[in-house]
């Protein structure tokens, strides 16, 4: 197991290097000039050139990429201007390792942006994840055990509705009616869990419901399908004939086997969400990683785009790794070969 994890971690590093390198290459292959996005309306050729130099966009792509990688390991100073560093060191921004870069449009390091944004994205993702797993898996089990009867039909029908309605619509309806018009719940704003756990949860209820709706719907269908399939397996029939209790059969033998594909999906979904729930964050104006990513694309803020791609990729890759490791514990049939 140890060697397996080490091997996977090494592949994660290679993958992240490849992904960030590709992002750099794609960005510079586009016909857009990133320096223009930093210039404003009073843009003169000399200001444009000055900005290009200060941001390092005048250097070859491989040099910029090399500096980015070096910054991850050793940190960096901004702007990259030796004269200014000597004459006015107070104007230099130091970005400690692992330095993800500096955003010219936000006038701060990306580490600081990510530092502000990640607790928001994680709070939304974790709460929504718990909600959709309870509702989705629970609903799926009930539907599977009542296959063809009214509980099954109601749950599957609701799941279909939940799956069909877009996230932004659910979010806007909840925000407009529940928060703004009725005032039943607060208009979401982020309160740190450490500051006030109750307010943290109270403010995130609507984003959690919004995000959980669409995921819960698909987990209902997923769980139902796998439970029905598992419950018709020979070993379940054997367990029944041996006189095991109904709930023991369902949870110990049925659900455990059905969980493997659900855990795979859940791990990847959660990994993706940790990188930011773009629509939910945008609807509720919560500036998590998803919102930051969209904003960086709109502003053509290259350093932020690269950092966001790397962070999102890292979450997904690590989620994949955790899922693979978890398999071995959930399903005894799966064994890891070092």
């Amino acid at each position: 197991m140890f060697y397996y994890i080490v091997r996977r971690l090494a592949s994660v590093v290679v993958m992240l290097v490849l992904i960030t390198g590709t992002t750099y290459a794609l960005f510079f292959a586009s016909p857009l000039d990133p320096a223009k996005y930093t210039c404003g309306r009073n843009c003169t050729p000399s200001i444009l050139e000055g900005n290009r130099k200060a941001l390092g966009y005048d250097q070859p792509v491989y040099v910029q990429y090399g500096k980015f990688l070096a910054g991850l390991v050793a940190g960096r100073d901004y702007p990259d201007n030796a004269q200014l560093r000597t004459d006015h060191p107070e104007q230099i921004v130091h970005c400690p390792a692992p330095c993800l870069g500096y955003s010219p449009s936000q006038h701060r390091t990306i580490n600081s942006m990510v530092g502000d944004a990640w607790p928001i994205s994680i709070s939304i993702a974790i709460g929504a994840f718990i909600l959709w797993m309870i509702v989705g898996v629970g609903g799926g089990i009930i539907a599977a055990l009542n296959r063809g009867r009214w509980p099954d039909r109601i749950i599957v029908g609701l799941a279909l509705v939940g799956f069909s309605v877009p996230t932004f619509f659910i979010g806007l309806v909840l925000l407009t009616f529940v928060a703004i018009k009725w005032g039943a719940l607060p208009i979401p704003r982020y309160v740190a869990f450490t500051d006030n756990p109750f307010e943290w949860a109270h403010n995130l209820v609507l984003p959690w419901i919004t995000l959980a709706c669409i995921f819960a719907a698909s987990y209902v269908r997923l769980t139902r399908a796998y439970m029905i399939e598992t419950m018709s397996e020979d070993y379940i029939r054997t367990a029944m004939s041996k006189g095991l209790g109904k709930w023991r059969i369902i949870f110990r033998h049925g659900l455990r086997a059905a969980l493997t594909p659900i855990v795979t999906a859940a791990g990847l979904d959660l990994g993706g969400l940790l990188g930011g729930a773009i629509i939910t964050e945008s609807v509720f104006s919560l500036h998590g990683l998803g919102f930051t990513a969209v904003s960086s694309v709109t502003n053509m803020d290259l350093p932020v785009i690269v950092a966001m791609v790397m962070i999102v990729s890292a979450f997904i890759v690590f989620a994949n790794l955790i899922v693979d490791i978890t398999y071995g514990f959930i399903d005894p049939r799966v064994k890891l070969v070092a």
Partner: protein, 575 residues
């Protein structure tokens, strides 16, 4: 520029009468709160979906940030008084200075003296040296980017061979002696020597680019959001881009030195993380803390139908912004006088207005100068709002060009502009043009126009403008004086390369007119020449602003003279 302005602070009844007669000045829908004595206390919420690019005073060049910065934490030598309703013309008044400035007879030397008792948030005195240092930062164009360049244009410092100022700002210090000669300090008095007569230079210094800056607090780009207050509020914690920040009272501010700011709320929470749609839903619903909220975001089209539900809490006023088309004089087609005239005649402004949201949002115009300025000439539309494609076609046929005449028209990418330009294309094509529409992303729009290579690519450009302060001297010269705009590096803001020696001479003559009313009239005459003689500018619309505020807010009035937004200096919260 990005900024706006309006009726000269030199408010006179005649000016008001002129503007009213234009029929396009500010109006209200039942108006804002009735004038009421403000009460101290409470928290004011400022809700927005517009990210603040800069708070560094020398970098601020957006109208709302100039006004809100000035009212909350960046005092200037001179500023604008506060209005008692949405239509009041406010006037230029002393702020940090003891008066509105003294000018020499030739208009080239201006002197301001600081009041006693004006202080920074750390309790230290605001000095004339701080003012001098603040303005010097404008010259560090490699670090202090984004702000207006009036200091560079007006202050008497020789130009280097490449056309830039010989003074490179306080960090490089190159040419520091030249700056020290042009801007002198004696005790509390600061004197500016200008390279030309600027009779309204005291209007110019109302911009925060001319605000003091304490040298010891200067961190270059790191100062962008590091607010160091000279006003009634100071930043509590950090300012975060796209999120905002909170302000609390600045105990070092002495109300006895300030006749402008009432500073009623104890605290101000600025949230710029919202979308305009959401914030208008909230303001119209008027629940919870939103009752204590104002906004500077114009109501989105989707909210216009519901603004009626905010009775007594809404304002519909003329915005400072005029949208116009600029023919490119370097293009083969648009260098033809008749082709430009045909384009002007064929332009269907009604289609544009319908596409952007109707008459509540925009009003047709044929003047570059905004109706809120005293110089507004109210030039009649050449062929009504719909234009006259048939007459335009006759002109085009007489132009010597072969029909259909291919033209490419650029505009800033936006959903409603897509519709507006598609609709106007119909009329242009009916006149004999073969119009290609080119939508350019907002962030790079003006940069693209200013790129030298664009001169050979496009024929007509869309553009927008709002005067920087209430004088048409911030309309005509910045946009159509070729001498200050066109260089080998591009057209500057004279996007269409309009370069006319007669016109430039008239600009010089107008600048020298000492009498304000006569000077503004002369700017109006130049506007008419641009739009009806040279067809160097085809004005489209004057935009309107629609604002809503919360039910507990008192004294929220639009200061049209200053920038066209609610003036926070008089806002209070009902107890």
């Amino acid at each position: 520029m990005k900024r706006r302005s309006f009726i000269a602070g030199l408010a006179t009844t005649a000016v008001v009468a002129t503007v009213s007669a234009c029929g396009s000045s500010s109006s209200t829908t039942g108006g804002s709160s009735a004038p009421a004595a403000g009460a101290k206390g409470g928290t004011l919420y400022i809700l927005s979906g517009t990210a603040t690019e800069h708070w560094d005073p020398q970098r601020v060049y957006v109208g709302v940030n100039i006004e809100y910065g000035n009212r909350l934490f960046t005092r200037t030598l001179v500023s604008w008084s506060t209005p008692a309703n949405d239509t009041e013309v406010t006037k230029i008044v002393p702020d940090l200075a003891t008066d509105t400035g003294k000018v020499s007879e030739d208009g080239k030397t201006w002197t301001f003296t600081l009041k006693d008792g004006v202080k920074w948030e750390d309790g230290s005195d605001i000095t004339a040296e701080d003012v001098k240092y603040g303005i010097s930062r404008t010259y560090a164009v490699d670090v202090i980017t984004g702000g207006p360049n009036y200091a560079i244009s007006f202050i008497d410092i020789p130009k280097a061979a490449d056309g830039t100022s010989s003074y490179k700002g306080p960090y490089a210090k190159t040419g520091q002696d030249l700056y020290d000669k042009a801007v002198t300090v004696s005790g509390k008095t600061i004197t500016f020597k200008l390279n030309q007569a600027v009779m309204d230079f005291n209007n110019t210094v109302t911009m925060t680019a001319f605000a003091p800056f304490k040298a010891a607090k200067d961190l270059g780009d790191k100062s962008n959001y590091a607010i160091f207050s000279s006003g009634p509020y100071k930043l509590d914690g950090d300012w975060t881009a796209e999120k905002g920040g909170s302000f609390v009272r600045n105990d070092s501010w002495d109300p006895a030195t300030d006749t402008i700011r009432k500073a009623y709320p104890d605290k101000i929470v600025w949230d710029e993380s919202l979308t305009p749609e959401t914030l208008y839903e909230r303001l119209i619903a008027d629940q919870g803390t939103d009752k204590n909220a104002i906004t500077y975001d114009n109501a989105p089209t989707t909210a216009l139908g519901n603004v009626v539900n905010a009775k007594g809490r809404s304002s519909i006023v003329a915005s400072p912004y005029t949208r116009y088309l600029v023919p490119n004089f370097k293009s083969k087609v648009m260098s033809n006088d008749k082709a430009r005239q045909a384009l002007a005649l064929a332009t269907d402004r009604s289609a544009y207005i319908t596409a952007v949201g109707g008459p509540q949002v925009a009003v047709a115009t044929n003047s570059l100068i905004n109706p809120n300025l005293p110089a507004f000439p109210k030039t009649p539309l050449p062929a009504g709002e719909k234009g006259d494609p048939a007459k335009a076609k006759e002109l085009l046929q007489a132009s010597g060009l072969t029909l259909p005449v291919k033209i490419s028209v650029t505009y800033r990418k936006r959903d409603d502009y897509d519709k507006a330009f598609s609709a106007m294309k119909v009329s242009w094509d009916a006149a004999g043009f073969n119009t290609e529409l080119v939508a350019i992303p907002a962030k790079t729009y003006y940069g693209t126009l200013q790129a030298p290579e664009s001169a050979s690519k496009y024929d007509v450009y869309w553009a927008g403008w709002g005067a920087d302060y209430p004088s048409a001297s911030t309309d005509i010269p910045p946009l159509f004086d070729s001498r200050i705009n066109i260089t080998a590096g591009g057209p500057g803001q004279d996007y269409g390369y309009f370069d006319n020696a007669d016109f430039n001479a008239k600009i010089d003559a107008t600048n020298k007119i000492a009498d304000m009313a006569a000077r503004e009239k002369a700017w109006g005459d130049l506007d008419v020449e641009l739009t009806s003689k040279y067809y160097a500018c085809i004005p489209l619309v004057d935009e309107q602003f629609v604002f809503v505020h919360g039910g507990n807010v008192q004294g929220a009035f639009v200061n049209g003279t200053y920038t066209g937004y609610y003036d926070p200096a008089t806002v209070s919260i009902k107890s």
